[in-house]
Amino acid sequence: MRKAMLDALSLPAFILLFTMMGFGSLARGAGFGADMAAIATLFIWGLPGQLAMVELTTTGQGIVAIIFACSLANARFLPMVVSFVPAMSRGRSSLLGRSLDAQLLSINSWAMCLREFPNIDTRFRHRYYITFASCILMAAVMGTLFGYHGAVLLPAAVVLGLIFVSPLFFALVLAAVPGCAQRLSMVLGCATIPVANLLFPSIDLLITGLVGGSLGFAAGKFWKTFDAS
């Protein structure tokens, strides 16, 4: 679908190209091969987990510890998949088909699709998602390889600007999310993460999700009863 490709190539593909360059060069530093780094992006497809994997390998941890840390860092995919699948409405419904869809999911496609889906006919949503996600995944694998081989040397200030673009993009995309419970959850998530990071650095995102999300959900429920009365 053309809209999906255009949306992907307009910005997210480039953002992933640059962020995954960072991962590629780190993976090289940790002793991984170029093929391993590319496969890691393709199969793990979740940067926080990939970074955990590379960092712990550099510090020489055991395999089980590394895999466990990577898994924890990517645990957000459970709630992300749950909130995403029904939004596609007419997607595949078999377990295998949905697992393949879930494997393609990343924060980029999650945020972008939840933003764009209201403007897209339900019949085309699944196709939009698959096209968009495949485009950015290809860009990410390319970025990993570029970064691994140190393709471009840019001035430090420019590199910083490029790294900054990634969280900025997510923040702007999510600013358009509807629903007061969802918005409240995001605000509460931001409020929780500094404390969670200080107390439990390895599971800070899980705690943030559970605390911020539950409070946001409860407040949203309360709000509705409040409105109705």
Partner: protein, 109 residues
Amino acid sequence: MQAETLWLIVLGCGAATFFWRFLGVVVVRRIDANGAIFQWITCVSYAMVAGLIFRMVIMPESELAGVSLVIRIAAVVIAFAAYFLFRRRLVAGVLAGGVSLSAMVLWFG
């Protein structure tokens, strides 16, 4: 480390991440998409993602940690201003934020 070990790590991490995705697929089959549990999980995912972004900007572990917090926050404000000024165009916001961060680093950093 040996190549076999590294491959094992890569594939193990892939499988460990897929575990959560698959669990999501299983859970979604069992719950009502309009029910309270679904809404709660949606809220949890939003809080998680927002927290992740907040951490990336305010408490970064990347090279951004070397950039002062004032510059990072200023760049976010500029990005949002540009985004709303240019009728909610993502490109405008992202460009303004990235460029202003680079410029401020060159100027003050």
